[in-house]
């Protein structure tokens, strides 16, 4: 359970997060989305007690992060800053964390294995590739075997295999009933993993929705051309479907093509064209976070 209530954070003249509220239910994977500079990292850092809010508050498992009894065992996090001192080996880095948090040393080898870093664990972090660093960060997040995970762009620097692996991994974590909040600026990247999305733009909430709704928004649009466009539009409206005239007998309809075709046949409307509008998740995302959306 993660709750953000009226969170506001300013950095000098920049309003990074503006009266933002949302919550993440236990056992769900939530995508936290927004373009660069939207305030994702700032919000996640506020949830983790690293950034001090100007107003509002955040809670994890019903408490502020600092009040958690064993934060490392309760909440695992990946953030954009470097995970480890470059001169330390990956394994020693995890040992330091385990020592500070009271986690057994055996667990260090377990998580190294889990993220596929056993072989590189003895090398200094300086020599790691971006993807290896990201895997080490994930190992750090999982070391305490936490129920709740807060991941800031965990796919950063991963190759396609790595991204696939991460996706499967997040699904596995969700399958175990863990709560995951994962940020990204690419909706499609998390689309197959998340149950819900929270979309922010310029520090404000744009949309909190189930992933199904987002997919419906992407899939459920059709373009129709008909000599009888005006009548068809009003028929569609009567059926509770939004239809916009584009001129020249063309309509943009907010419903899947099958439904539009059925309605046309039922009402004897002649169609000259019926095509699925090729909106992708990216289009939906861009529309929601475009400047005109403000």
């Amino acid at each position: 359970m993660i709750e953000v209530e009226s969170l506001t954070k300013r950095f000098g003249a920049t309003l990074a997060v503006d009266d933002l509220s949302f919550s993440v239910s236990p056992g769900t994977v939530t995508g936290f989305l927004g373009p660069n500079g939207a305030g994702k990292s700032t919000t996640l850092r506020a949830i983790l007690g690293l950034v001090i809010p100007d107003a509002g508050r955040t809670r994890v498992l019903g408490k502020s992060y600092a009040e958690l009894g064993h934060p490392f065992q309760q909440v695992g996090a990946i953030l954009e800053t470097a995970e480890a001192h470059p001169g330390r080996s990956g394994r020693n880095h995890l040992r330091v964390l385990a020592t500070a948090a009271g986690v057994s040393r055996a667990r260090v080898d377990d998580v190294l294995e889990l993220v596929g870093m056993t072989e590189a664990a003895g090398r200094r972090v300086k020599s790691y590739s971006l993807g290896m660093r990201q895997r080490l960060a994930l190992a750090g997040a999982l070391l305490g075997d936490p129920e709740t995970l807060v991941l800031d762009e965990p796919a950063n620097g991963l190759d396609p295999q790595g991204i696939r692996w991460l996706r499967d991994f997040l699904r596995m974590l969700a399958g175990e009933g863990r709560t995951v909040l994962v940020s990204s600026h690419v909706l499609a990247e998390v689309a197959q993993t998340v149950d819900h999305v929270v979309i922010i733009h310029k520090g404000r909430l744009v949309r909190q929705a189930a992933m199904r709704e987002m997919e419906a928004m992407a899939a459920g649009a059709a373009v129709v051309r008909s000599p009888d466009a005006a009548r068809f539009a009003s028929l569609l409206n009567e059926a509770g479907i939004d239809a916009q005239s584009m001129g020249d007998g063309e309509l943009s309809v907010a419903a899947p093509t099958a439904r539009v075709g059925e309605l046309a046949a039922a009402n004897g409307v002649v169609l000259h064209e019926l095509t699925a509008a090729r909106a992708t998740l990216e289009d939906v995302f861009l529309e929601l976070t475009g400047d005109e959306a403000q």
Binding site: T42, I52, P71, A82, A84, R88
Partner: protein
């Protein structure tokens, strides 16, 4: 707290930086002690008070390196961004700072022990060649304790300075320049103006008085002033970090 302290010690042990500093410490202390003992007169070398002072002088490098490593133990975390993970593991920030203070203190003790061992290893053979020996008595033990405490306070002071300044180069360069240049000039200026009393309570003067190689304050007063500096810098560092945004 012991877990955090063990983590701090592990951090220190698992980077190469420490070993470089230890080598520097051994070399400089050895050279310093050799210089001291070789330029002393035969009758001086046999004098217990002079022997104690040689130890005090030879362990200045341990104190300086304790200060630097104390600073680094904090500033590296900001420099590399690892403070994020550190505060995630321990969100009550004062606990992290307290562990770093204690770590700095123990580091100072360890470095001073190493410095004393090296200095004695250099001085003792020369004394036995003179057919003299090191006077190990109550005064000697007290001096050793004072040297250890002074270096420990330097280490803890470093942790506070690092927390307050955070910028690694700034903190290290600032500390070195203060200790080696500014404080000397300032003390000279103060003495010239007739305020020697103020010069004596400057940090290096106070801690050197504790370690037995500065005449100004008594040992106890030097120690008390040194502790006050440690507390003040730790408190200022805490105030800076308490509600600092870690981004």
């Amino acid at each position: 707290m012991t877990a955090l302290l063990r983590a701090e010690v592990l951090k220190l042990r698992t980077t190469r930086g420490l070993y470089g500093y230890l080598i520097v410490l051994v070399v400089l202390t050895g050279l310093g002690a050799a210089g001291q003992v070789s330029t002393a007169h035969l009758f001086e070398r046999g004098d217990p008070a002079f022997q104690r002072d040689m130890l005090s002088q030879s362990t200045v490098f341990a104190a300086l390196i304790a200060l630097l490593l104390g600073i680094l133990s904090v500033t590296v975390e900001w420099r590399h961004g690892t403070i994020t993970r550190t505060f995630l593991v321990t969100p009550r920030r004062w606990r992290v700072l307290a562990a770093k203070e204690i770590n700095g203190f123990l580091l100072g003790v360890g470095l001073a022990i190493l410095g004393l061992v090296v200095a004695i290893a250099v001085i003792a053979p020369v004394l036995s060649h003179d057919s003299a020996s090191l006077h190990v008595d109550g005064a000697f033990a007290a001096r050793v304790a004072e040297i250890l405490l002074a270096a420990a306070l330097w280490g803890a002071l470093g942790a506070g300075v690092g927390t307050l300044i955070q910028h690694q180069t700034g903190a290290i360069v600032g500390a070195i320049i203060w200790v080696l240049v500014v404080e000397t000039l300032l003390a000279a200026l103060l003495e010239w103006a007739g305020w020697k009393g103020i010069a004596d309570v400057l940090p290096r003067h106070a801690l050197d008085a504790l370690a037995g190689h500065e005449a100004g304050l008594s040992t106890a007063a030097g120690g008390a002033v040194g502790v006050a500096y440690v507390v003040v810098f730790a408190a200022l560092g805490f105030l800076r970090v308490r509600r600092q945004d870690i981004t």
